[in-house]
Point group: C2
Chain length 223, copies 2
Amino acid sequence: MWAVGSPQGAALAVAAAALAVAVAAAWRRPRPVREVLFFPCRPCCLEALLAEAEAEAAPARPCPCPLPRADTSLSRLVRRLLSARRSLDLCIFSFSCPLLARAVHLLHRRGVRVRLVTDAQYMGLQGSQIGRLRQEGIQVRHDQHSGYMHHKFAIVDRRMLITGSLNWTSQAIQSNRENVLVVDDAECVKPFLEEFERMWEEYNPTNYIFPKGSASNAVEIND
Amino acid sequence: MWAVGSPQGAALAVAAAALAVAVAAAWRRPRPVREVLFFPCRPCCLEALLAEAEAEAAPARPCPCPLPRADTSLSRLVRRLLSARRSLDLCIFSFSCPLLARAVHLLHRRGVRVRLVTDAQYMGLQGSQIGRLRQEGIQVRHDQHSGYMHHKFAIVDRRMLITGSLNWTSQAIQSNRENVLVVDDAECVKPFLEEFERMWEEYNPTNYIFPKGSASNAVEIND
């Protein structure tokens, strides 16, 4: 006979309590983020999405363009970016998509700390959004080696990783077969955060080396 | 008083048994794969790794090259690929690294079903390994649209995803800042598997369209 008050009864009660706690914890834990986006995606209008993020209380302005306001890979990517509340760390090889630049600028204006690492050779190409983002006050640093800074990842609020094959160009979004993976698994996010911080320090303008007589390069740096 | 045999006693016993089963299941479950690799990586010799995979029972042959047999991002990537036992589905934009081609060929010889999707414009560039892999009997299909097939992912045994920014080129491995993420989370792997199957069917040679008078293109297809 196991009675309440007996050692066996107490052990069973403890086991039941532990199970209840485990079930409650699993119930409350937010569902982990695992989203996979594929491109190309069909053209869509993201004006309402951007307007809503800009003035959360204001009603969305109607957009006169003929594009549908569809749920696409691009709208999902933009939604993930706009979910940033404190920080957005970007590491983008080629960044020429005006719409993604608008989303980044919007976050900067909203007080999110945006840092951007990019590739020295691609940042100056025609159509690049890097110069514009710098003019808007966003901190940009670039590599200084002969290889490419070829990453294409973003970290939202130091807890959500957005990574894949997609360069932030209209060509990639509209024409290429591409993938973007969104995860908040700490084991995935942490190494990317560390890599970002390593590069951010390594590409600090105080570490840049200018070949003798290259004064024209120096004026380009406004980080 | 709750006695064994009473409803309360039985409920506690069931709770304890459920807890024990949950703990045992968590204990037995293999640790999930979450690995992040960064490039560039320092040169290393992978002869022993390839020889070991080729003849698992045979002793590793010493390699006379002066490179160290180090644990690098490349050796870890190759190990993950060589762990394939049944299938390897590859979707690689630019594939010119001879060492990775050797690893893929080795798997093909070992009876692993290798399928490769690549980009039509990059597969013919100088140094591309695609022609060699086709000659060795590996099934290759390519896109037929104007945008790039820009993915860079692999799926091992339909359960482990290897994806990131890394093209399979020596330049990317040795000179670029790149990332590769290895995960076996079903929520991540499944969409990539489906995307692979979609492309594999879409790029079936029976679906290719040849412009009139382009007979010279037709002879290139040996899938």
